[in-house]
C-alpha cells in the first residue's frame, strides 16, 4: 500500500504532461466557445427561447438576456488565461464557474461532454498546472517547479478512465449487444458517409460497431496505461473518435478526448512537444527546467484539498450507480440517467400533447407547444419526465396568470425507445400540476412494457 501510495500519489514526476494538458485544454475550450458563438447558438439556445428548463435545485440559474454573451466572453477569456498559465488559479476557477453556469442555464442542451468539461475544470482548480511552462512560473520563479506530485497527473488519468470505463459498462445491455440498438437505426441513415456509407446498412457492421464500441470503452483506459500498448491505444483513440465525428454530430468532443488522452504518454513526449512550441514562439524552455520539486507540505490546506479530491472521485465512482435506487427500466424513466457517462446509448423520441383543464368549469383545450418551446426544447421535453413535469408547472402558471382558475394539466405522451413501437409514457389521468419534483421515483411514469437486460 505504501509502495502504491508512493509511486502514484506522492512521488515527484515531471510537470510537463500537466502543462501540455493545461495548454491544450485552454485552447480547445477557447475554440469551443468561439465555435458555439459563431454558429449563433448563444442567440438561438439561450436568448430566443421564452422558457428554460432548470436542473433541480438550480432554478435560479437563468440566461441573462443579452448579457449572456458576457458570460461567454468571460468563459473564453478565462480559457485563454488557463492556456497561458497566467493567474492560473483564478482563471480556472472563473472558467469552471462560467462554464458550469452556462450549462446550468438550460437542461435542454445537456451533453455528457459538457458535464465532463465542468468536472475536469473543477479538478484542475486543485492541480498545480501552472507550475511548468506558464506565465505564472515565468513571472514568479518561486512558483516554478519542474516536478510535481504524481497524483496531480494521475487524477486526470483517473477522470478520463472513469468516463471511458463507465461509458463501456453502460453499453453492456441486451439492446446494445444483442439487438445492435440504437446503431441499427442510426448507421443506415448515414449511407452517404464517404467510404463507410455503403457498408453501414449491413447488419454485421452494426453489430461490429456496437461490440467494438463497448470493448473500446472498457479497454482503452487500461491500454493507455501500459507503455507497450499505448501507441496502439492512441491510434485506436484517434480512429474511434474520428469515426464518431464523421458519423454523428458531436461537435468538439472527439477532439477534446483525443487531445486529453495525450496525458497518458511519457513526459519525454511532452517535453518534445513543448520544445517544438518553444521553437515556434521563441520561448526559452530551459528556464522552466529548474529541477525544483513541488512538495505539498502536510498542513490543513493540503489535507483539505486532498479530502476534496478524494470525495470528488468517490462521488464520480458512485454517481453512475444511483439508478439502482429507482424502480423500473433506467432507459425508460431516465431516473439516474444523466451524469453517468451514458453516451449515445439510445434512440428515444416522444410526442407530448398537453391538455389544460379549468377544474371549475371543466372546460379544456390543448396546448400548442411551439407557442412556448423551441423545436429543440420540445424534442427534448417530450421523452424526459423531469422536463415534462417542469413544463406542466410552467403551463399552469402561465394559464393561471392568463385568468384561468384552478388549472389542471394532463399530458398525452407517447415514447418510442430503441426501435420499439411507441407506447403511453405518462399516466394521462394524473394532474401534473399537483406533482412535485424531487429525487424520488415518479410514480406517474407508465412502466416500460419490454425488458432490457444488463447494467
Amino acid at each position: 500500500m505504501k509502495g502504491f501510495f508512493g509511486k502514484h500519489i506522492s512521488a515527484p514526476i515531471e510537470a510537463a504532461p500537466l502543462a501540455v494538458f493545461r495548454i491544450l485544454f485552454g485552447v480547445m475550450m477557447l475554440l469551443g466557445i468561439v465555435r458555439f458563438w459563431s454558429y449563433g447558438w448563444i442567440e438561438k439556445l439561450y436568448i430566443q427561447p421564452k422558457f428554460f428548463f432548470s436542473y433541480y435545485g438550480f432554478e435560479w440559474v437563468k440566461p441573462l438576456g443579452v448579457y449572456t454573451y458576457l458570460i461567454f466572453i468571460i468563459c473564453g477569456l478565462s480559457a485563454i488565461f488557463v492556456a497561458l498559465g497566467y493567474k492560473y488559479r483564478m482563471a480556472i476557477i472563473v472558467f469552471f464557474l462560467s462554464f458550469t453556469y452556462i450549462e446550468l442555464m438550460d437542461k435542454t442542451t445537456y451533453l455528457n461532454h459538457y458535464y465532463f468539461i465542468s468536472l475536469l475544470s473543477f479538478l484542475m482548480i486543485f492541480l498545480p498546472a501552472n507550475a511548468y511552462f506558464s506565465l505564472d512560473a515565468k513571472l514568479n520563479p518561486k512558483k516554478a517547479f519542474q516536478k510535481i506530485p504524481a497524483w496531480t497527473v494521475n487524477g486526470i488519468k483517473l477522470m478520463l478512465g472513469i468516463v471511458y470505463f463507465y461509458a463501456g459498462l453502460a453499453k453492456l445491455n441486451s439492446d446494445w449487444l444483442f439487438e445492435a440498438m440504437p446503431l441499427k437505426i442510426w448507421l443506415p441513415s448515414k449511407f452517404d458517409t464517404p467510404l463507410l456509407g455503403q457498408f453501414l446498412h449491413e447488419e454485421w457492421v452494426q453489430y461490429a460497431f456496437s461490440w467494438f464500441g463497448a470493448g473500446y470503452d472498457l479497454a482503452i483506459p487500461f491500454l493507455l496505461l501500459y507503455k507497450k500498448t499505448r501507441p496502439f491505444a492512441f491510434l485506436m483513440v484517434v480512429v474511434f473518435h474520428v469515426t464518431t465525428r464523421v458519423l454523428f454530430p458531436i461537435g468538439m468532443f472527439p477532439y477534446v478526448m483525443i487531445v486529453s488522452t495525450l496525458i497518458f504518454f511519457d513526459s519525454s513526449f511532452h517535453h518534445k512537444l513543448l520544445s517544438y512550441v518553444s521553437g515556434l514562439f521563441r520561448i526559452p524552455k530551459n528556464r522552466f527546467d529548474n529541477g525544483q520539486v513541488l512538495v505539498l507540505t502536510s498542513n490543513v490546506k493540503t489535507n483539505s484539498k486532498l479530502v476534496v479530491i478524494a470525495v470528488f472521485f468517490a462521488v464520480q465512482l458512485l454517481m453512475p450507480w444511483r439508478y439502482l435506487a429507482y424502480p423500473g427500466e433506467l432507459f425508460w424513466t431516465e431516473e439516474g440517467y444523466r451524469f453517468s457517462w451514458r453516451v449515445m446509448l439510445m434512440e428515444k423520441s416522444g410526442y407530448a400533447q398537453f391538455k389544460v383543464v379549468s377544474k371549475d368549469s371543466g372546460r379544456w383545450f390543448y396546448v400548442d407547444n411551439s407557442d412556448f418551446l423551441t423545436p429543440f426544447q420540445e424534442k427534448q421535453m417530450s421523452f424526459q419526465p423531469d422536463f415534462i413535469l417542469e413544463y406542466a408547472h410552467y403551463l399552469k402558471r402561465h394559464f393561471e396568470k392568463d385568468g384561468h382558475k384552478n388549472v389542471q394539466i394532463f399530458v398525452d405522451c407517447r415514447v418510442a425507445l430503441n426501435g420499439r413501437l411507441s407506447t403511453t409514457y405518462i399516466d394521462p389521468k394524473v394532474d401534473l400540476a399537483q406533482e412535485r419534483e424531487s429525487f424520488e421515483h415518479k410514480s406517474w411514469i407508465i412502466p416500460f412494457t419490454d425488458e432490457i437486460k444488463g447494467i
Binding site: L177, G215, F253, M344, K348, S358, W364
Partner: protein, 378 residues
C-alpha cells in the same frame, strides 16, 4: 485487470457465436435472413417528384384554368346558372388544392404558396372594403386573409343568402369593382400556381431528386418534416382541431374551411387526408399504381415491432380515422348543432393518433431529425 480481460474474452466469444448463428451461411434449408436495409432514397424522391408532385401540380394548374374559364363566362353574363358553374369550378379546384397543399417545399415554399392560397377564416369586411375602394395590394402579407380560395368562398357563397341575392350583387352598383376584385384574386392564384409548376419543370425537380443524402438539409429529411408539419398543423389542427376548439376552450365554427359554402368542409378535409395517405403509400397521382414511398422505406427498414409492422399500423389508423370523419356531417353543421360536438371530437382523436405514429415511430425508425435542430449531440 485479469477479471476484466476474462469478461472481455467471454463477451467476444458470445459475440463470435451470436454472429455465427445470425450471419451464417444461407443454405437452402434455413430461412434466409431478412434482407439488410439497402433502401435507396433517390428512386423514392424521383417517384415523389415525377409521379405525385408534378402531376398533382399539373392537374391543379388545369383546374385553375377551368376556374378562370368559368369565371370569364360568369363575368360576361352574371346569371344564376353561370354562378353555379363558377361555384362548381371553384369547389373542384379547391379539392385539387388539397392534393398539392402539402408540397410546401422548394418553389412553393419560396413564394409561400399555402399562405397565399388558403388562409381562413377570410376577412369579409376587409374584402368589402377593398371592393368598395377598388384599391388593394394582394402582394402584401397582411392581405392574405382577403384572397385565395377562402376569399372566393366569400365572393361566391357569402355575399347573399340565396343565389338570386348573390347574382344581384354582381349586377348591382358595385358590379365592376366586384368583378375586378374576383378577377384579381383568381389572377393572383393562377400566377402563383403557374410559377411553382414552371420551376418544378425547369430544374427544381432535378435539384430535389439529386439531393438524396441524409442530413437535415437533404430532400427526404426536409420533406418528411414538411409533410408531418402539414399533417399536424394544417390538416389536423387547421381543418378540424381549431374549429373544434381543441386549442381555445370554445368551438369556433367560423374557422371551418369554406365557411360560406357551409357544406363542404368535411369533403375538403377528406380530400386532403386521402392525399396525405396516398403520399405515404407512394400512390401515383390519378392512378392506382404506386412506387417507392415512406411506406416502402419503412418496410425496407424492417421495422417489425409488436408483431405488426409500422406501415400496416399507420395505414390502419388512416382507414379508421377516415371512416370516422366520413360519418360526420359537414363540420360547420357538426359544430353548430352539437354541444359539445362529440362525434367530431371522437373523429378528431382518431386523426390525432396518426401524429405520434408519424412523429415518433416513423421518424425514429428512419432516423430523421424532426425539425431542424442545429446543435451537438453526444
Amino acid at each position: 485487470m485479469r477479471r476484466f480481460f476474462a469478461l472481455f474474452t467471454v463477451a467476444t466469444m458470445i459475440w463470435a457465436c451470436s454472429s455465427d448463428s445470425s450471419g451464417g451461411g444461407s443454405s437452402d434449408d434455413v430461412d434466409p435472413e431478412p434482407e439488410s436495409v439497402s433502401f435507396e432514397r433517390g428512386p423514392m424522391l424521383a417517384n415523389w417528384a415525377d409521379n405525385i408532385i408534378k402531376p398533382s401540380y399539373e392537374a391543379f394548374s388545369s383546374e385553375m384554368s377551368d376556374l378562370q374559364t368559368a369565371f370569364d363566362t360568369f363575368k360576361a353574363d352574371a346569371t344564376e346558372t353561370n354562378l353555379v358553374a363558377f361555384r362548381d369550378s371553384w369547389l373542384s379546384a379547391y379539392k385539387m388544392w388539397q392534393r398539392v397543399s402539402m408540397f410546401e417545399i422548394g418553389p412553393a415554399e419560396t413564394v409561400g404558396l399555402r399562405l397565399n392560397m388558403n388562409i381562413y377564416p377570410t376577412d369579409g369586411p376587409k374584402i368589402d372594403g377593398f371592393v368598395t375602394s377598388g384599391t388593394y395590394d394582394l402582394g402584401l402579407a397582411s392581405n392574405r386573409n382577403a384572397k385565395g380560395f377562402p376569399a372566393l368562398d366569400y365572393l361566391i357563397n357569402g355575399l347573399g343568402d340565396t343565389d338570386t341575392d348573390i347574382v344581384a350583387k354582381y349586377n348591382g352598383a358595385e358590379k365592376e369593382n366586384l368583378i375586378a376584385y374576383t378577377e384579381a384574386i383568381i389572377a393572383d392564384m393562377s400566377s402563383l400556381t403557374s410559377g411553382v409548376l414552371a420551376e418544378w419543370n425547369s430544374g427544381y425537380r432535378d435539384t430535389f431528386v439529386a439531393n438524396d443524402g441524409a442530413s437535415a438539409t437533404a430532400s427526404v429529411d426536409r420533406f418528411i418534416n414538411d409533410y408531418i408539419f402539414y399533417f399536424e398543423k394544417y390538416l389536423r389542427a387547421g381543418k378540424m382541431g381549431i374549429p373544434l376548439g381543441a386549442f381555445s376552450e370554445s368551438v369556433l365554427p367560423q374557422n371551418v374551411e369554406a365557411y360560406y359554402k357551409a357544406d363542404v368542409s368535411n369533403e375538403l378535409f377528406i380530400e386532403g387526408f386521402e392525399a396525405v395517405h396516398d403520399f405515404f403509400n407512394g400512390v401515383h397521382y390519378g392512378k392506382t399504381t404506386s412506387g417507392e414511398s415512406l411506406a416502402s422505406y419503412l418496410d425496407a427498414l424492417n421495422e417489425v415491432k409488436d408483431g405488426e409492422d409500422l406501415t400496416k399500423l399507420i395505414n390502419e389508423q388512416f382507414d379508421l380515422a377516415k371512416t370516422k370523419v366520413e360519418a360526420l356531417a359537414p363540420f360547420r353543421q357538426e359544430l353548430e348543432d352539437n354541444v359539445p360536438p362529440k362525434n367530431m371530437l371522437l373523429a378528431y382523436d382518431e386523426v390525432q393518433r396518426i401524429v405520434p405514429l408519424f412523429k415518433v415511430d416513423m421518424v425514429s425508425a428512419m432516423s430523421v431529425s424532426i425539425d431542424f435542430v442545429d446543435a451537438d449531440g453526444d
